[in-house]
Symmetry: C2
Subunit: 298 residues, 2 copies
C-alpha cells in the first residue's frame, strides 16, 4: 500500500464553509479569518466567491475581502468565479487563482445554477481562454461526484467525463466533491478508478462533506489510491442544505490529525489551525464542528 508522502490541503472554509453558514459575517472577520489561516502553514486558501450578492449574501463582499487581506508570501489566494462577470470582478482585486464549478449531475446544475452541464461549459470556455492569456491558473469543481440530492446515484463514468472535460479545457486540478456526503469507500474507489483512467492522479483533488461521518474513511481510501490533494474547512465550517442538522465540510483539523498520524507531511501547524477554529466558531457563535478541536480544548 503506497500512501503519498506529502499532501496539499486546500482550505475552503472562507468560501464553501461561510457560503453555507446561516449568518453573514462582517467583512473584517472574514479578513481576519483568512489572515490567521495564512499563518498556519496552509499554502492554498479559497478566500471567497465572485457570485452575485443576491444569490449568496454570505459572500457579498468578495471585492472588499480580497482587497483588504494582508497577503502572506507563498500562499495562493483563490476565488470561485461562477461566470464572466465574476471573472472580471476577480481581475480587479488581484485574485491569484480562480475556480470554476459544475457537477456530474444535470439535475443538480439545473436546480443549483439554472443551467445544464453543457451550458456550464459554454460559460467556462471564454473564462478559461482569458485566464490562460493572463497566466491565471484555474481549478475545476465537480459536484455530486458520489451522489446527487435530486438524481440519486451518479455513475463513475459521468464523473470521469466531466472531470476530463474540465481538464482538457485547461483546469490544472479537478476537485471531486461529495456534495451531500453520502459516499462510502467502495463508491469512492469506483469513482476514482474511473477518473484515473482519464486524468493524471496529480490533477485530482477530493472534497468531502462529513454529512454522514464518512469523510475521513473516504479520504483514507483516496490516499490509498494515490490522491495528494484534499479540500477541507477549518472548524468544519458550512452545513448541508440538503440534510437538516447535518454537518459541513470535513474539518481541516480532523484531516490534519489523521494525515499527521499517518506520517504524511502537510507543512501545517495543527495547533494554530485549532486556534483559528476557535476564533471563527466564536465569531459565528456556535461550537466548532471539528472533534479534534472540541477534544483538544482551547
Amino acid at each position: 500500500m503506497l500512501l503519498p508522502e506529502q499532501v496539499k490541503i486546500v482550505e475552503v472554509g472562507p468560501r464553501d464553509g461561510l457560503q453555507n453558514e446561516s449568518q453573514i459575517l462582517a467583512t473584517a472577520d472574514k479578513v481576519a479569518l483568512i489572515e490567521k489561516l495564512s499563518l498556519t502553514g496552509l499554502r492554498y486558501i479559497e478566500a471567497t466567491s465572485f457570485v452575485a450578492k443576491k444569490w449568496i449574501p454570505q459572500l457579498g463582499d468578495a471585492e472588499e475581502v480580497m482587497s483588504a487581506i494582508k497577503r502572506t508570501s507563498g500562499v495562493t489566494y483563490s476565488a470561485l468565479v461562477p461566470n464572466w462577470a465574476g471573472f472580471e470582478r476577480s481581475l480587479l482585486v488581484h485574485t491569484d487563482e480562480i475556480a470554476v464549478f459544475t457537477a456530474a449531475s444535470d439535475a443538480f446544475t439545473q436546480k443549483n445554477i439554472n443551467c445544464s452541464i453543457d451550458e456550464c461549459f459554454e460559460r467556462f470556455a471564454p473564462i478559461l481562454t482569458a485566464a490562460k492569456e493572463k497566466n491565471i491558473r484555474v481549478r475545476g469543481y465537480v459536484s455530486c461526484a458520489l451522489g446527487c440530492p435530486y438524481a440519486g446515484e451518479i455513475a463513475p463514468l459521468a464523473v470521469a467525463r466531466v472531470a476530463k472535460r474540465l481538464y482538457d479545457m485547461g483546469c490544472y486540478e479537478i476537485s471531486l466533491g461529495d456534495t451531500i456526503g453520502v459516499g462510502t469507500v467502495n463508491k469512492v474507489n469506483a469513482m476514482l478508478h474511473a477518473v484515473m483512467q482519464v486524468l493524471p492522479t496529480e490533477a485530482i483533488a477530493v472534497h468531502f462533506h462529513d454529512t454522514y461521518g464518512q469523510a475521513l474513511i473516504n479520504i483514507y481510501a483516496a490516499l490509498q489510491l494515490g490522491v495528494q490533494v484534499i479540500d477541507s474547512a477549518v472548524a468544519g465550517l458550512g452545513g448541508c442544505p440538503y440534510a437538516k442538522g447535518a454537518s459541513g465540510n470535513v474539518a481541516t483539523e480532523d484531516v490534519l490529525y489523521a494525515l499527521h498520524g499517518l506520517g504524511i507531511e502537510t507543512g501545517i501547524d495543527l495547533k494554530k489551525i485549532i486556534q483559528v477554529a476557535h476564533f471563527i466558531s466564536d465569531k459565528l457563535g456556535k461550537p466548532p464542528q471539528s472533534k479534534v478541536t472540541r477534544a483538544w480544548g482551547v
Copy 2:
C-alpha cells in the same frame, strides 16, 4: 486487500455508553433500549455492569435490568463484572456472558480501579475458573490500547502482553480499546500487528471512541488487517471523562453505514438502529451523536 465478508458488531451502548452519560436513566428506559436493540438484527448486546452502585450510579440497577428484559432468541446479553461480587450477582439473573476489564497501562488501572494490572489478573483468575466450570463465556477488555490519559504513549508490546494473558486465561475474545480516542492509523496498525503475533485474528475486537473523529478511519485500518469484531454504541452514547466536550463511543449507525458501503454483511437493519438512536437520545434529552442519524432525520 482482503476485507472480511462479515463483521460482528458488539453493541456496548447500554453499558459503556450509559455509564459515561451524566444522567441516570430510569430502569424501564434501559430495558426498552435493550429490547429495541434486540429487534434490529444485533446479535450481541452488553447490557449492563455489575459494578458497585456507589462507583457507577448510572448502572446501579444491573439486576433489575437483566431480570426485566424480554429476551430475543439468538441475541447474547452480556454484562461487565469487575470482581467476584459482581460475578456472583451476574449469576443470579441469567447473564449469558460476562466481560472482564483491565488496561495496558498500570497508571490507568491504578487511577481507575485502584489496582495494578497484575492485581486485575489476580481478581480475574477465580472468576475465569468458575465461569469455565459453568460454561459461561468471558470476553476481555484491554483499555488504553492506543494511549493512556496518565501515562501517554503505550507500547504495542504492552498491549499484546495483556491481551495474550487474558486469552491464555480463557477469554475467547479480546476487545482492544482506544479509551481516549487518540489513536491514528499507523498506531492502530502497529498495535494490531503486535497483538496478531500472539492472538488469532478471530479473537480480536476493536473498540474505538470517537473523541478525535478518527474512529471510522481506524476501523477501516483494522478491517484491512482482517479484524472482524467491532464494538460500537447506538447514537454514539457516552462521553469521554478525559476530554471535555468530547464525544463517546463510535456510533453504531456510522459504523454500519461504512460497513454496508464496503459490502460487508452485519445482519443489522440500519434504519431500525437509527430509530433506537432517536429513542434513547430523546430519553437523554440530547441530540444523537451519530452523524448518520442526524443527517437521516426521523
